[in-house]
């Protein structure tokens, strides 16, 4: 008599993993470093929660955005080293992920949309299903739909590089070597503002991402991202 668990285990080890090890490991390191960056970044931001456009800005000049939070001086000093610590983890993990994804063809196989999917009809279909709070069916759960693919590509090749760029553009050492880092963005304070805007966009992505994970079955999805395998044959939700 073979128990159900053993059958499931056998299925799991013979079928292809939902997520390859590279994706699983870098995903969770990424989660930890983004949390570290958000906490330390907030500590830095609240020492002067005012954003400007151009090269300079201070309490004596007009602002672009006045964030409705109090000025708290102090955390920016001791939290800054943590910000750079997690930034290095994010960058090194990101480089590993991108290099590894080219080698394993993760981008081509899992993220590049098929030509047939690359139409407004398909995209509109996916969006309308999501808006009706429908989780994916079993087939769809084993792959990414076109909107997911485009979003993940935009985050990997658009948003994260933008966060890195706007961060580096605030560095006096870096702009001494590459002035264009800051000048192309409109100046030092513009870079700081855009760094903040990028983080807001990242938070928006994280919010929708977690919502979608919930729709697809939270523990199923989390388990797939940890072990690599989705329980076979079970109901999706």
């Amino acid at each position: 008599m073979i128990s159900e668990a053993r059958v499931e285990a056998a299925v799991e080890t013979t079928s292809a993993p939902r997520h390859i090890a590279l994706v699983r490991v870098t995903h969770w390191i990424n989660v930890l470093s983004v949390i570290g960056l958000l906490v330390s970044g907030t500590g830095i931001l609240v020492s002067h929660p005012r954003l400007y456009w151009g090269e300079t800005g201070s309490l004596e000049t007009p602002s672009l955005i006045d964030l409705p939070v109090p000025f708290i001086i102090g955390p920016s000093v001791w939290m800054r080293p943590y910000h750079f610590f997690f930034a290095w983890i994010l960058v090194l993990t990101g480089m590993t992920y991108v290099a590894g994804s080219f080698i394993t063809q993760h981008f081509r196989k899992d993220l590049l949309p098929a030509k047939a999917d690359f139409s407004w009809n398909r995209i509109a279909g996916v969006v309308s299903e999501a808006l009706m709070w429908k989780g994916p069916d079993a087939d769809a759960a084993s792959t990414y739909n076109v909107v997911q693919r485009l979003t993940y590509l935009a985050i990997v090749f658009g948003l994260f590089p933008a966060i890195l760029w706007t961060g580096l553009a605030m560095s006096f050492g870096m702009t001494a070597v590459f002035p264009i880092l800051a000048t192309a963005l409109g100046g030092h304070q513009s870079a700081r503002t855009l760094h903040f805007v990028c983080v807001v966009l990242l938070l928006l992505f994280v919010f929708v991402h977690i919502l979608m994970v919930y729709l697809a079955g939270f523990w199923r999805s989390v388990r797939a991202m940890i072990t690599g395998y989705v329980p076979q044959g079970g109901k999706i939700r």
Partner: protein, 255 residues
């Protein structure tokens, strides 16, 4: 069979560990030799500090210049962060326009010396219009006039083993919790000898105002505001990484 495999994987794991350990060891040795390890390299966050500093020093080893601006870019208002000391010693010097003030330059130098403000002003002067940004987030552009720190270091003759230049301000007995700018700082020789690093006694075409650091402040154009020590009274050249150590926060301000 499985035993052989286990032994083989044990051996290769051991070899890999030994290789990466000696790789890290060699990297640390060369990093230290080429001055790529900052004073605050210890601990978990020290890893990040070291990577940032080393990466920047490898990139900026040439004399890359901080961005300079046009006269029309100079900010109309420059933020004061921590007004000048209000103890009797400083106020007496200020009242006398710093006639009795002297900057002492000592440590690993062939000819320790002290300079009056006039003596510093007789040395070749330079002006740079650069960005001054506080780590908190505010910033302004100003024109700074002064003598290159490199010129002064050349006069006193720094010894080859010199690694850091420490800026010591006037003691500020009335310094409250919110007044934090009158603090020790240190920079490495790469920034100390950098052509834009000034001992500044002038700001926006006038004598350096008291609240901005009179009589003399450091201007380290490739680093953030906190490295630009105000109210200088002493400069020490040292080879000791632990001569000056920040209690918290980041040592390298080129970030």
């Amino acid at each position: 069979m499985s035993q052989i495999l286990a032994r083989r994987s044990f051996l290769s794991a051991g070899l890999a560990t030994a290789a990466s350990a000696s790789g890290i060891g060699a990297a640390v040795y060369f990093a230290d030799r080429y001055g790529l390890i900052p004073p605050d390299h210890a601990g978990i966050v020290g890893v990040g500090e070291t990577l940032t500093y080393a990466a920047q020093r490898l990139l900026t080893s040439g004399h890359s210049l901080a961005r300079e601006f046009k006269r029309s870019d100079i900010s109309k208002v420059a933020t004061v962060n921590g007004p000048h000391p209000t103890d009797e010693t400083y106020l007496a010097l200020l009242a006398d326009r710093f006639k009795n003030w002297r900057l002492s330059v000592e440590g690993l130098v062939a000819r320790p010396a002290s300079f009056s403000l006039e003596e510093l002003q007789r040395l070749p002067a330079e002006s740079h219009i650069t960005l001054h940004a506080c780590e908190q987030g505010w910033s302004y552009i100003a024109e700074w006039t002064g003598v290159r720190l490199a010129t002064v270091l050349d006069l006193v003759g720094t010894r080859p083993e010199s690694r850091y230049v420490v800026f010591e301000p006037f003691p500020n007995p009335n310094q409250g919790r919110t007044v934090v700018r009158s603090l020790f700082e240190s920079i490495d020789m790469a920034d100390a000898l950098h052509p834009q690093t000034l001992l500044a006694y002038g700001m926006n075409g006038e004598a350096l105002p008291a609240d901005y650091g009179a009589p003399l402040r450091a201007r380290v154009a490739r680093q953030l505001g906190w490295k630009n020590t105000k109210y200088l009274s002493r400069i020490v050249i040292t080879d000791r990484r632990d001569y000056y150590r920040k209690k918290n926060g980041t040592w390298y301000g080129g970030i």
